[in-house]
């Protein structure tokens, strides 16, 4: 079965979405990630969606949900590398993803994540 790999880097978890998301994959990722956070007591999650060039409302909601559940489990989430087309689509769908931290690329995302973890 297809899965999205979740990599551990110290106290952070790294998720790189490199395939087209479909609904089952998104749900599996949600389960896997929450399970990994609780197992590793990670402090931060970085989701890289730079390879994602298509989203629908379900995936948009999934991103919001993952961010929300990580926060409840005391892990900060940063979303990096969103493509312009994806950003425009989400805005047109009315999904502003409030409370989700974003960064332009992985490097800045890690920096932001470290800052947030230090201050939390």
């Amino acid at each position: 079965m297809e899965r999205i790999p979740i990599l551990q880097m110290g106290e952070f978890l790294l998720v790189t979405i490199q395939v087209d998301m479909h609904d089952q994959l998104a749900l599996t990722l949600q389960d896997d990630l929450s399970e990994r956070i609780s197992r590793t007591s990670a402090r931060g999650v970085l989701i890289d969606i730079s390879a994602l060039d298509m989203v629908d409302s379900f995936i948009g909601r999934m991103i919001g949900t993952i961010s929300g559940l990580s926060r409840i489990m005391d892990a900060q989430t940063v979303l990096v590398g969103m493509q312009p087309a994806v950003a425009i689509t989400l805005v047109e769908l009315g999904m502003n993803l409030p409370g989700v931290a974003t960064a332009l690329n992985v490097e800045r995302g890690m920096k932001l994540l470290r800052d947030r973890v230090e201050h939390s």
Binding site: G81, P84, A87, I88, L90, V91, N96, T102, L104
Partner: protein, 283 residues
């Protein structure tokens, strides 16, 4: 259906010089030749009359869509296209053909002075023919004008969305003119693409050149700001003039979560501060 008599065509050909003179006079009288060079007009009227007579000789068909009229149609299309570019209005362009009616009618009246029935018939035929040609001219004139307008619209759309790099990591977008959905889309796309290309962290949208802000414009602005935030960059809106600030407050628009500054300089100062850049005078 009656057709043009050979006699009529012959008369047109024989009296070409007189017709040309009278036609040019009546063109000048109606003011249709304003903005045009005298030589050009002379050339065009001469060419058209030759084409007309040739076409009548060849087929004599009244249907101007017939291939015998292809040359004439092409000539009129070129003519109206050039008129559209010079900036003449449709009336002046149409007068080019319609001014020919008077001289031709006079000529026919002289030719058929003794035969009333024939005269009426021939007048009707010539009138139909010239009307058809005139309509064709107007139609192509309109098309040329529309093509010009369309091209200008596209150019305006491209011209109005320059994304300027102000500093390493700071982009600015000076918006000029009214914001509508289509323009916002173009602006948003080009700005987001530049953010990705340059890896800029801060984008400044300057709305000094936006004449009015209503709920729709505010909504477009908010969408752009949200999209920029989703990409991971920050957005500052600058150039909020006093009237616009009043309008926004009166409309009860919620710009919360959006950083606004009165002018571009303030926005740049804030952006530099966020980047950790210090600027001081060299004593």
């Amino acid at each position: 259906m009656a057709t043009l008599q050979a006699k009529t065509v012959q008369a047109l050909q024989d009296n070409r010089i007189d017709l040309l003179n009278e036609w040019t006079h009546s063109l000048e009288a109606t003011g249709a030749t304003r903005n045009l060079k005298g030589d050009d007009v002379k050339q065009q009227t001469g060419d058209f009359l030759n084409l007309l007579v040739d076409a009548l000789h060849n087929g004599g068909s009244q249907n101007i869509n017939h291939e015998n009229w292809a040359q004439t149609r092409l000539f009129l299309e070129k003519l109206s296209h050039s008129r559209a570019l010079v900036g003449q209005d449709s009336q002046q362009t149409a007068s080019f053909i319609f001014a020919l009616k008077g001289p031709v009618f006079d000529l026919l009246q002289r030719e058929y002075a003794n035969d009333g029935a024939q005269l009426a018939e021939q007048l009707w035929e010539v009138s139909e023919l010239l009307d058809g040609l005139g309509m064709h001219t107007i139609r192509t004139f309109q098309k040329s004008r529309e093509a010009v307008i369309k091209r200008q619209q596209e150019e305006l759309l491209e011209l109005s969305t320059p994304v300027v790099k102000l500093w390493d990591g700071v982009l600015a977008l000076p918006m000029i003119g009214t914001l509508d959905s289509q323009r916002t889309q173009v602006v948003m796309e080009s700005l987001l693409q530049r953010i990705v290309d340059t890896g800029s962290e801060i984008a400044i949208i300057d709305i000094t050149g936006v004449p009015t802000v209503d709920t729709l414009v505010a909504q477009h602005l908010l969408k752009t700001v949200t999209a920029i935030r989703l990409m991971g960059a920050d957005c500052i809106i600058s150039g909020v003039r006093p009237q616009i600030a009043q309008t926004i407050v009166h409309l009860g628009l919620d710009l919360q979560g959006v950083v606004t500054k009165a002018n571009l300089a303030d926005a740049l100062a804030l952006a530099l501060k966020r980047l950790g850049v210090n600027i001081s005078k060299a004593v």
